[in-house]
């Protein structure tokens, strides 16, 4: 047993969280996004007579269901803007651009998008702009590639919204918005110490100074006492199967033949069981009390699985508190 010392260096690893955000659309959003695919911009008229663009399913003021659609212009006026000198991943343009809120002609509210302009000196509130459509459109807000300045002398922004039935062939009923976030994961002091020890083929838990329980793997705190675990304690390498299950369905991206056994294993000296796969024994011969030892992965950084030691089974009383 040694006092917990700071690890030589904090461990770090890239962590990517990537997911497609799949959402269904209501009738108003479906008509709006399908309309964009067809280069038509629709708004929703509220009971008070306001035209909302982009439209929503319910009135943001009264919560009334909105179903009256109108077609508005593809030209509009900038209501506020912000110059973005360094575009970030996923944003509409890869070169510096202005974020803009644009009130399209015939609309009473503004739509957020990008404005392609040579520089901030070319942008102002009140600037007249028009939609630049994406070459390939699928029924998404990105069917608008961006806005572009549109200054013509006989420009007439007074065009009123026109009634529209919202009907298009092959309507879009859902969207898939891919999302990706990049992180650098660092596990903290306790888990860094644990992982460093594992790399040396040692399993090192941490003891609670209050209740003396040894946590493996340690997470830095005793959840019962709410205090930091202080002392490092090497446990195992051998341990006892406290309970187990038989896995019959192959996991995606996992190259292990089914059926196999996944077990809770109380390493000798540990105050709670960790989990791992049991190998080196037919699946239907695994039992509670089976004594096991780790078989290290090829790179030796973690136990790939646990196998029987050949010792007699442990007495139930020795592990019943660890179930």
């Amino acid at each position: 047993m040694t006092a917990a010392a700071p690890p030589p260096e904090a461990l770090r690893a890239p962590l990517v969280v990537e997911f497609p955000f799949t959402r269904s659309l209501g009738p108003v959003q479906s008509a709006f996004l399908t309309g964009l695919r067809e280069r038509t911009v629709l708004g929703a008229r509220t009971e008070a007579g306001e035209v909302l663009v982009p439209p929503v399913e319910y009135d943001p003021v009264t919560a009334a269901e909105l179903r009256e659609l109108v077609e508005v212009g593809v030209t509009g006026t900038v209501t506020t803007w912000a110059w973005n000198p360094e575009p970030r991943r996923g944003q509409p343009l890869a070169t510096p651009f202005a974020w803009v809120l644009v009130r399209l002609d015939g609309a009473d509210t503004a739509l957020l998008h990008a404005l392609d302009a040579p520089g901030p000196e070319a942008v102002r509130t009140g600037l007249r702009v028009r939609i630049r459509w994406a070459a390939e459109r699928s029924g998404a807000i990105t069917d608008i590639a961006c806005f572009e300045p549109y200054e013509y002398e006989n420009d007439d922004p007074a065009t009123g919204p026109q009634p529209h039935d919202g009907e298009f062939g092959n309507p879009v009923t859902g969207i898939v918005a891919p999302a990706r976030l990049d992180y650098t994961y660092s596990p903290g002091r306790a888990q860094t110490r644990y992982l460093h020890a594992l790399a040396g083929r040692r399993t090192v838990g941490e003891r609670c100074p209050s209740c003396a329980k040894v946590y493996v793997p340690p997470r830095g705190a005793c959840p019962t006492c709410g205090v930091a675990t202080t002392d490092q304690v090497e446990v195992g390498p051998r341990g006892t199967v406290t309970t187990y299950c038989i896995v019959n369905i192959k996991a995606k991206n996992l190259d292990i033949e089914v059926p196999y056994v996944y077990a809770h294993i109380a390493l000798d000296g540990a105050g709670l069981a960790l989990h791992g796969r049991i190998g080196g024994i037919p699946y239907d011969e695994v039992r509670m009390g089976l004594r096991v030892e780790p078989v290290w992965s090829e790179d030796g950084r973690y136990p790939d699985h646990y196998r029987p030691t050949g010792e007699p089974d442990a007495d139930y009383d020795t592990y019943k508190e660890l179930l």
Partner: protein, 355 residues
Amino acid sequence: MTPHRPAREVAIVAFAQSDHRRRTDDLSEVEMVMPVLHDVLRQTGLKASDIGFTCSGSSDYLAGRAFSFTMALDGVGAWPPISESHVETDGAWALYEAWVKLLTGEADTALVYSYGKSSPGSVRDVLTRQLDPYYLAPLWPDSVALAALQAQALVDAGHTDEPALAAIAERSRSDAAANPHAQLPGARPQGEYVVQPLRTGDCPPIGDGAAAVILAAGDLARELCERPAWIRGMDHRIEAHSLGVRDLTDSPSTRLAAERAGAFERPVDTAELHAPFTSQEVVLAKALGLDESVRVNPSGGALGANPVMATGLIRLGEAAARIHRGASDRALAHATSGPCLQQNLVAVLEGDPRA
């Protein structure tokens, strides 16, 4: 709307926060939170088992760890099983939930904590994931961009200009110099545009941190704290999610929450405003009708330290701590969530008259 008077006397009796830092690679979330929990318990002499209700606020998206709040709960001492809840937003809303719990009489004490680790990811991009998934999120408009649109709207409306914003930044960072927990102590140059019209100095620092408070009711509060910060009222309100529907130069939700919390009944001497961007302080000060008699963000505010998900709770804690030490008699604390001050919480705190 008339103020809503709480049915029970409840006070913030202790407040603690971490030293907010740009990175905490050496600490897991529970390792960052635990010292702060121990600090508030020590201030009151309470043990974890004395706490009637525990409520926390955080967001898994910040550090990219699913169910991270369950790990942080390890720092509380949750056995035997405690009465516990969590909100996936700023801890100010966890405090609101705990306050309501105490008002019902179901508990007499509450531990409220929150934390945020922004350093593992890119918080500007992470916050885009809270936006409308149909019309906004696919464009990845980051938090600075949205605040900059609001700032330009304020400039266009004549409510502020770049020198006025710079003065807010300078005042906040100068005040942060007296705050030992602040990440950016001391005034500094405004720097380049991040997204015009907002410069580096107009934006909050990115960092990691945690905070905790203890609430107690009635005479127990008087036993635990020499001068409790009584919660005279608290309310939170939200605005339409579509940015183009809102008047970005105003904050009717803040004003309504303040009215319901009783903020306008008598003047406050202090206001801790959760304004991550200088321009947002302009909106809030206007909505709340704060004049020069009110000391705004003596802690340095979110411009001094911005551990996302804890920054709002820290405003309540800083306002309470000022009452605890006799520097304020009646303070307003505000917290916000969402883009461009979408959702706002206002609390009014008071100390007992001094002899």
